[in-house]
């Protein structure tokens, strides 16, 4: 029981819940540094308000780090295969 509670308290907080004003951005920046990620893809599910509200400040935090990012808004069904591939390829090319 304690372990479950701890997990809920310690996991990276879901944006629908509040924990600090910059927790999620701090985490994202830390993770990109740790993994030496050269780019970040935001996968935004349409109509998920909490994530949509967080996107601009998360992107800003990455911009400050000089980490490029790509925003993909998807509906409950993914767009056609080719479409996604083109966007990913263009993004990867941009990073290189």
């Amino acid at each position: 029981m304690t372990a479950i509670a701890d997990r809920y308290l310690e996991r990276v907080v879901c944006p629908a819940k509040h924990r600090g004003l910059t927790d999620r951005a701090d985490y994202l920046v830390r993770l990109t540094r740790e993994r030496q990620a050269q780019g970040v893809i935001f996968f935004l599910l349409k109509f998920c308000d909490p994530h949509a509200f967080d996107y601009p400040y998360l992107k800003e935090a990455l911009d400050r780090e000089g980490v490029p990012s790509l925003l993909l808004e998807v509906e409950d069904r993914l767009p056609a295969d080719g479409q996604l591939r083109t966007r990913f390829e263009a993004f990867v090319e941009m990073i290189q």
Binding site: P15, A16, H18, L21, T22, L44, K46, F47, D49, P50, A52, F53, D54, Y55, P56, Y57, K59, E73
Partner: protein
């Protein structure tokens, strides 16, 4: 013609001028707070404002500001600006408009006064929490969140304890932000005035039980501002006494909000702020009066749970058991109770793109009402502030068709 104008003049609500005066003075007061040394708190419409009044903090309502943006038809432009900042067009237009206003002092009053603190109660939606986080980062001010769990049918002991604990934290937060002790005597007085104001507001809305209704939902949308923003002040009590007296005179003289009231309707959801005039004229031209609504009555819903003599003690329950924080079946029941009380012939529902908690259960509520009451309902798809989501032709056709249904029933 002259006579027609006279009749129109008679129908105008006289206290409107006073209301404008009070709201102007209030905004000047808030905007000059920096010079007068008063503190300003931004607070959500469902938040507990009385402790702020008791602490002499000026409460400012971004949602009221959003309504002003909408009424001034500046919504599409500001929402577009927020989208350019990276905010999705699916987000609440109050939030989008306000977020876009802050960095440029935009909007009808050149931006809201800078907050010293933010007070957010998530009883109305989860949107306000995210919105206030954005503003807390932007203004770099402390944010207090009052978390009110959804209570579908009842209010459990655990929920009560949880929210009550937060009321104490809220007071501690205010003491810290204001640098002074909380005045427990003053809150009793403020609480008493708040309850008195809410009772008066309910009485005003209830005058619409008369035929013809002296006040329509469109009037209520306007006069609502005080019970939202200045609840707990003597000024609000005085103003509503005046308005109530005027409504009673109108009842006695048989003056209705619309010239020929034939159909009585109930409005659900927020107003379409940039089209209130168009909509009110449209319904009036069809001899339909919107005699009540679920929106403005939300500011007296707490009367069910409040104890005037223990205002702070009952605050948790009052702020948790509100219309948008209960189950859909309970919402439907409340709508039907209102339909009976105001004796309406049909229900107009604004399916509001912006406000998901309000609009989400509407189709279920519509079905429940149809099944249990057989009342015709009209669904209008629009948005309260972003006029890009309003299609006049389509809405006009729907209203006309709905009135035909009502005609067929009568």
């Amino acid at each position: 013609m002259a006579e027609k104008d006279e009749a129109k003049e008679k129908r105008k609500i006289k206290t409107v001028a006073k209301m404008k005066e009070i709201m102007t003075a209030y905004y000047i007061d808030a905007k000059t707070a920096g010079q007068t040394g008063k503190k300003v708190a931004w607070i959500t419409s469902g938040g507990p404002v009385e402790p702020l009044i008791a602490m002499d903090v000026i409460p400012v309502y971004p949602e009221n500001h959003g309504a002003m943006v909408g009424a001034s038809k500046m919504g599409a432009d500001l929402c577009g600006k927020a989208e350019a900042m990276g905010y999705s067009s699916d987000l609440c237009s109050y939030a989008r408009a306000d977020i876009a206003c802050a960095p440029i002092n935009g909007g009808p009053i050149g931006g809201l006064p800078r907050p010293d603190m933010l007070v957010c109660c998530n009883n109305i939606c989860g949107t306000v929490m995210k919105w206030y986080e954005v503003q807390a980062r932007f203004f770099k001010v402390p944010l207090f969140i009052l978390d009110t769990p959804v209570c579908h049918t009842g209010f459990s002991a655990e929920a009560k304890r949880y929210v009550k604990g937060q009321i104490n934290e809220y007071i501690a937060f205010l003491e810290k932000a204001c640098g002074k002790r909380f005045d427990y005597d003053r809150i009793k007085e403020v609480g008493r005035l708040s309850v008195q104001g809410q009772r008066l507001w309910q009485e005003i809305l209830d005058t619409a039980m008369n035929r013809p209704a002296p006040i329509s939902a469109f009037d209520a949308f306007f006069h609502l501002a005080l019970i939202v923003t200045l609840r707990g002040t003597q000024q609000t009590v005085d103003y509503y006494k005046m308005l109530l007296a005027e409504m009673r005179e109108r009842v006695a003289a048989g003056i209705g909000a619309v010239p020929r009231e034939k159909y009585r309707l109930l409005w659900d959801n927020l107003p379409v702020w940039y089209r209130t005039k168009w909509l009110s004229e449209k319904f009036a031209s069809q001899d339909a009066c919107l005699v009540a609504d679920t929106y403005t009555s939300a500011w007296c819903g707490a009367l069910r749970y409040v104890d005037e003599n223990d205002f702070l003690g009952t605050m948790a329950e009052c702020h948790t058991r509100i219309y948008l924080n209960i189950g859909v079946d309970v919402m439907a029941r409340q709508v039907m109770e209102m339909a009976d009380k105001y004796d309406v012939d049909g229900i107009v529902m604004h399916s509001n793109r912006s406000c998901k908690p309000y609009s989400f259960g509407q189709y279920d509520i519509q079905r429940i009402i149809r099944e249990q009451k057989g009342l015709p309902t009209l669904m209008i798809e629009a948005d309260m502030v972003d006029e890009r989501n309003f299609s006049e032709g389509q809405i006009e056709t729907r209203i006309d068709a709905f009135i035909e249904v009502l005609k067929g029933k009568n």
